[in-house]
Amino acid sequence: MKRVYVNEAWCLGCHLCEYYCAYANSGLNDMVKALKDKTIRPRLTIEQEGTISFAVSCRHCTEPLCMKSCIAGAISCKDGLIVIDQSKCVNCYSCIMACPYGALMPSVEQVMQKCELCATNSHGQPVCVQGCPNKAIVYEER
């Protein structure tokens, strides 16, 4: 399965991926309208320390502990893609307890959100990858 992979040597720490992510999942088709004057809640996290930086998003694990720990049965696996049914989520944070990568976080609506590789929004392909100016995030088969 194609996944998002990160090469920290190429990451500039520019945070553009966060903005592209927030835009991609906003439901709006105008980036300015989606982001202007908004506090963004991207589905990936940039870690930064000194000169090192990299983006962390869902790994779509073959052993998805978030799914197996979800008390609501809200997380499922569709052909390798780990997705959340936000209507079932009760915001208990069991997935946050379980995920070894720290890749889930609450949304503005106070239900869990995670990277779904833009397969469940209108874009179809990971927009963070398209927006990364230095190819530090790629979408490929490994």
Partner: protein, 410 residues
């Protein structure tokens, strides 16, 4: 091959998925005491709060059972297990044979003997959907609720109904709330939050005697109430196992493949007592994620693929009125405490390993990175320990490890 599953909650669903990952042919029968198909039990407090509904609470629907070709007998109780003849007798008198059996019978509320308890007419427990419906139908806006037990079940029940009743009083024998998952300071923190929301606590106290609508406490306090919820704890359902001669301590004793002491019988979930990672000893861990992982392990093993579940630890994620609490592991060894406004974190370190943590409020972010340190028994001298204490981050790992985490297949 006929696989028989007794119980129809989380562990049972995982057993089915485990079996079907290996064996598409064998027949599977599930005997479930409850009338519902397979629902997410921990959601009953959210149901009372109106944050979910019965349809959304469905954990595995009828289509799941159909797709996996599972014969589901719901509303049916297994009464007798004969391990020699390999048969289970149901409450309607029919007998089911099996080749491989798993007991995922769960747990039941523990009701300690208390003087005058029989006089209390409006008495409830809070474990099943039926319990939640019964409580929901009984409460009124002027009801005074008395909850026995300031643990996870009692306090989630309180959260579920607080807005719909006049008052809630909680009594517990322990000197602090959530004593099974929190330390003293953490308990005080969460208790203050709950009191601010309107709960009243009587701790280090117990009911000496009930009348129909009053509880006389050991301390001399008299608490008037309209409804009583008994939530002092749960006990594993081990009757079938005991009767059939399986080894039973607190729960049904199993190994890391969920095999019981008797051939062709497995056990998983709240009824099982399995090896716990950090202590190295057997524990009953009545937690949803362990029920799932144990069930999956049992299902695979029953179908011929042995993949021992070696990483079982205690862990809880729970919230009360917006305050999140995540805990894991054991609370022993060297302690490190980090507190700031709205955030409480206590880490427990022993022999160069993280063995437990308590996180409250903002500190819960990315908690799973800590959980993984415990489960993987990561040597702390191989990571940036100061950084990982400050915040759970992949940055704390060696670059080569990080490359595998973010650049490799996982």
């Amino acid at each position: 091959m006929h696989y028989l599953i007794i119980g129809n909650s989380i562990a049972a669903a995982a057993v089915i998925e485990g079996i079907r990952s290996q064996d598409q042919e064998g027949a599977i029968t599930v005997v479930g005491e409850e009338r519902q198909v397979c629902y997410a039990r921990p959601l009953i407090s959210y149901l009372l709060q109106g944050k979910t509904d019965e349809e959304k609470m469905c954990y595995r629907d009828q289509a799941f059972f159909d797709r996996n070709r599972v014969s589901l007998l719901s509303g049916t109780r297994a009464c007798h297990l004969d391990a020699k003849e390999k048969t289970v007798t149901l409450d309607d008198g029919t007998s089911l044979g099996y080749d491989r059996l798993v007991l995922s019978t769960g747990s039941s509320p523990f009701i300690p003997p208390m003087q005058g308890l029989d006089l209390v007419k409006n008495r409830f427990t809070f474990l099943t959907l039926d319990d939640a419906h019964a409580l929901s139908a009984a409460i009124r806006s002027d009801s005074r609720i008395l909850i026995l037990g300031a643990g996870l079940i009692g306090l989630k029940c309180a959260e579920g109904i607080l807005d719909r009743v006049r008052s809630i009083t909680v009594v517990d024998l322990a000197p602090r709330i959530l004593a099974s998952i929190l330390d003293g300071q953490g308990s005080v923190h969460v208790q203050a939050h709950l009191q601010q929301k309107g709960l009243t606590f009587h701790l280090s106290d117990r009911v000496k005697e009930f009348t129909a609508n009053e509880a006389l406490l050991e301390s001399g306090t008299i608490v008037g109430f309209d409804m009583l919820v008994v939530a002092v704890g749960v006990k594993p359902n081990t009757e079938l196992a005991k009767e059939a001669g399986l080894m039973v301590n607190r729960g049904i004793v199993v190994d890391q493949s969920m095999r019981t002491s008797v051939k062709d019988i497995w056990a998983a979930g709240d009824c099982a007592e399995a090896p716990e990672l950090v202590s190295g000893s057997n524990r009953v861990l009545p937690l949803l994620c362990n029920a799932y992982l144990q069930g999956e392990t049992a299902g695979k093993d029953m179908a011929g693929k042995t993949e021992p579940f070696t990483q079982a630890i205690a862990m809880n994620a729970i919230s009360f009125f917006g305050l999140h609490v995540i805990t894991a592991g054991l609370y022993e060894g060297e302690e490190k405490l980090f507190t700031e406004e709205g955030s409480y974190k206590r880490l427990f370190i022993k022999d160069n390993r993280l063995i437990g943590y308590i996180l409250i409020g903002k500190a819960v972010e990315r908690a799973g990175i800590y959980t993984a340190l415990i489960r993987n028994q990561t040597a702390l001298d191989t990571i940036d320990f100061d950084l990982i204490c400050r915040q759970p981050a992949l940055m704390a790992f060696a670059k080569s490890v990080r490359q595998q985490q973010l650049g490799g297949s996982v």
